[in-house]
Symmetry: C2
Subunit: 218 residues, 2 copies
Amino acid sequence: MTDQAQIADEAARSAARAFQERGLTADEQTIQLLFTEARTHYGWQDRDVAEDTLRALYDIAKMGPTSMNQQPMRVLFIRSTEAKDRLEPALLPGNRPKMRAAPVTAIIAHDLSFWEELPRIFPPNPDAADIFRNNATAAQVNAFRNGTLQGAYFMLAARAVGLDVGAMSGFVNAKVDEEFFHGTSVKSNFLVNLGYADTSKIFRRLPRLAFEDVCQTL
Amino acid sequence: MTDQAQIADEAARSAARAFQERGLTADEQTIQLLFTEARTHYGWQDRDVAEDTLRALYDIAKMGPTSMNQQPMRVLFIRSTEAKDRLEPALLPGNRPKMRAAPVTAIIAHDLSFWEELPRIFPPNPDAADIFRNNATAAQVNAFRNGTLQGAYFMLAARAVGLDVGAMSGFVNAKVDEEFFHGTSVKSNFLVNLGYADTSKIFRRLPRLAFEDVCQTL
């Protein structure tokens, strides 16, 4: 290891130690904003989303962890009427007006060839790409798992910057792939409507499973 | 719709409107705690994680959105030496000491029969279970996608309550399933070491893909 690399590692450890010593837990209002008071939205105000807000969103979301720093997520922001016209036929009819009313619909996708970037983004193992090069199943499972983790980071980061979100998986993935990602290794995962919600369109909260239903300790 | 349901819907709308009127964005320290200063950890202090902390974690994570409120995630907290002995052979050798040193390793899993709960947890469509009952592929894709979203919520919620996390997918899922979920419809997804980090074990941060590499607007 070079001196420079050692210095960078030691700086990272010092920063982590200093942050840990602050003993933080999350601010209660932010927990509400990201999780406990946040709602999935179906209706949207006629108010645009600034490009800078999308960049701020991504700059938070990109820091969430992925296996071997894979970062397979790719995002297509559908904003224009032309792009919405292309997306609409792939959606279940009930989801079309939600997409139409939202200022932006993000197609959360993942690149099955994400591993081509690994030499650059995962320097600890210069041969990491070989794990996936001739193993399409491993590439697919990793792209789907880690791209979905990033999709979750994306939604929470959107809320963090003050946007409302409404995710949708009621659409035909193959149609979206054919229309937007034809001839590429990118596959659609799910959609996220983004904007400022019309709160009059929501319903009461749906029940959540209890700790005892979901968690067990051994 | 009953009067009671209408009242519940209106109360939910009022609450969402009141929360929206506060115009919040996330507290900067909390963004750091959850995303930008947080690190994936490999080493752990000899300090236990309270059961109440895991419950607080779950109570935040459970509020994250899933398609049709599916909530397919199931979590097995591995704490005892006996349970760690059972988990260890499934892990890649490099991941074994990380798991051994952590006070808790969560097996993030999902139930392929999650849809059996839908009549109870997704009352808006009493027939939603029929979508998955005879469609194993749809059940698998939905369990994996939504269980993974919940796994991301789980990791961020862990950070929110002051825990450090270190996720691992370097293990043989089939071995974990055979050892812990044999004869059930539950399948392992990935592992999350939980505890209070030994910050001396980390390295410098890995590079993230730029907005321009990942995002496009149409």
